[in-house]
Symmetry: C2
């Protein structure tokens, strides 16, 4: 398999503004051109868009707006993890030899579909993510004696870390007490435990090993890929483990030939506070039933290892962009360009994304 690297990136601010999807896509794409050495339109032979927007033909529209005439263009959708799925498609086009250089751009705008799975509604199932998040939270409390304070620490940490992310949706710090006393949206979920759907776009440029030098002296390699879809339906007999994440992580570590202990920094899908506690365990970054202690320790020592850009809770969650924004952050960290967010000496990073109560998950390992 050919090696594939991230060699450029762009990000818009994540906001509540109702911007046209085309403008969002174009803005982060323009940043890729503005910041990537020697990049010109004719060097890009694939344009893959990830979004939950209902607009069609956005791969061709973004190509036209940005002056690219690629071979490959299309849109990828897979709910919350659309961006990660699109990146792996870009990887596979290059790894197979069908393309040399692929732009992957994700975007969603506030109010877009994708947050609610209409299929659930058609079957009489609870259709808003707060329902599965509430069940996860209640089950986690029961099984591991997790406290409201431990849940609030996730949100406090990620809101605090988002303060140093100029593109984050939230730029307000919250105390643990403020989070614990924020409005209850269900019996077990406070409003400040939830990520926000918002408008935003993120892009990365992927290329093959032989092309990296043209664009950067600091390529970041995608060395591990793991994906798993268990179902589309939330399974109520498994409420304290993200089993698709376990499978995806194991496959990603295996492909990268590393152990979880070697991960220096991770972007994790914290759609709700409880998700981060579960994910750090299911990614084997800490042992089962130690997630809350692990995150509390990071918070107390101001260690930004998990969700340095603020996670979905702090940075916001424009669905199609999220998986790509995670990769942009890890790329900046591994290039030692993350400014106030920088984790020292980060060499190996991970991104974790999931959709619909972790019925599917994607894990990527990146290395400098």
């Amino acid at each position: 398999m050919k090696k594939v690297a991230v060699v450029g990136y762009g990000n818009t601010k994540f906001t509540k503004d109702e911007l046209p999807i085309e403008s969002l896509l174009l803005e982060s794409t323009k940043q890729v051109f503005d910041t990537t050495k020697n990049l010109s339109q004719d060097l890009i032979d694939g344009v893959i868009v990830s979004t939950n927007d209902n607009s069609k033909y956005l791969g061709a529209i973004l190509s036209e707006l940005s002056g690219i005439k690629p071979k490959i263009s299309h849109t990828v959708e897979h709910l919350c993890s659309s961006g990660s799925s699109a990146v792996i498609s870009g990887f596979s086009y290059i790894a197979s030899g069908l393309a040399d250089t692929v732009l992957v751009t994700g975007a969603d705008k506030i109010g877009n579909p994708g947050q609610i799975l209409e299929w659930d509604k058609s079957r009489g199932e609870y259709n808003h993510p707060i329902y599965w998040a509430s069940m996860f939270t209640k089950a986690h409390k029961r099984q591991f004696s997790t406290t409201d304070e431990e849940l609030a620490i996730v949100s406090a940490k990620n809101h605090k870390q988002a303060m140093d992310n100029p593109n984050a949706y939230s730029h307000k710090p919250y105390t643990i007490s403020e989070i614990m006393n924020s409005k209850n949206v269900t019996e077990d979920l406070r409003i400040l435990d939830c990520s926000y759907s918002c408008s935003g776009s993120s892009s990365i440029l992927l290329t093959s090993e032989e092309n990296t030098k043209r664009f950067t002296d600091e390529p970041i390699w995608i060395s591990g890929i793991g994906q798993k879809t268990n179902s589309a339906s939330f399974t109520k007999n498994e409420l304290t483990t993200l089993s698709s994440t376990v499978t995806a992580a194991n496959n990603a570590y295996k492909m990268a030939k590393i152990t979880p202990q070697e991960i220096d920094i991770a972007e994790i899908h914290d759609a709700f506070s409880v998700c981060e506690l579960m994910a750090v365990e299911d990614l084997s970054l800490t042992e089962k039933n130690t997630g809350a202690t692990y995150v509390r320790n990071l918070f107390n020592t101001e260690d930004r290892k998990i969700n340095p850009r603020g996670g979905l809770i702090g940075a916001g969650h424009p669905l199609g962009a999220t998986g790509i924004a995670q990769i942009v952050e890890i790329t900046q960290q591994l290039q030692n360009k993350a400014k106030n967010r920088q984790v020292s000496n980060a060499k190996k990073g991970l991104t974790h994304n999931m959709s619909a109560a972790a019925t599917s998950s994607t894990v990527l390992v990146l290395e400098s």
Copy 2:
């Protein structure tokens, strides 16, 4: 690059029935299981859906409905050529080594979006395909003295060929005179020159070379791939050549190391009669300005080389399914299993798909 083969397929009838998108996807998928030797759910590690439907997470939904727990699942959209784009993604996952066996299932239901590009509307452009088709037709008549009879022959041939396709939308033969006298939808376009949006689904199963024997004794290899996106907007200064098709075809022939003269059978995107006349030229199956004569000769000799299943005009055009249905037909032809539609001694086949006035095109070469 690893070799990739088509080793299974399924098709629903193409109808005007308003069926749920999930049911359509499941029906053609079920056929793949019913007709592919030794296929079980655990052998499939990728499920890619192609559609213009606004439903989300269909890759996971189809996986759950069909009992598959794949690594990879997502939806691909690229208007009319969504199906072809999804197949090439499936190819790239296998060719790169990220997957062994991928199910690619496309579907759309009557009335789905995708036929009209809303982006055109937002810019004040004519937004229905009949407008570009009318301009193509008028320009073709002017430049090549193409007659209404020559255009009608395309439709007569494809409606006739669809009579032997049990899944076709149309099962009614039309005389050239009936077509020429059918209702004018614009000055240059008769209703019987148009393909119909309809409900339908098609699936193929792709696998790597080492796995083919498990599933079939007659693998059909995807030996050539060509794709090109020139823009999203219809370009009025190029009305008699499908230039994205020219580029895609040349790349596909080059990858397959064959000449156009070696093609025995072709599935061509005849959304409107004029498209087939242009495509047979731009795919280099005949010389420029000889398309009408070429098609007339096929019609007169009852040669089914072009659009044996009836093309989009006869078989119908459920957008997300079309590119896959084309591959199913070529696979059956190259396996000598096309029954009444069989072209004798077909060894090398081609599929041609395009979107939005051929602003993008995809060409695949298949070989037995």
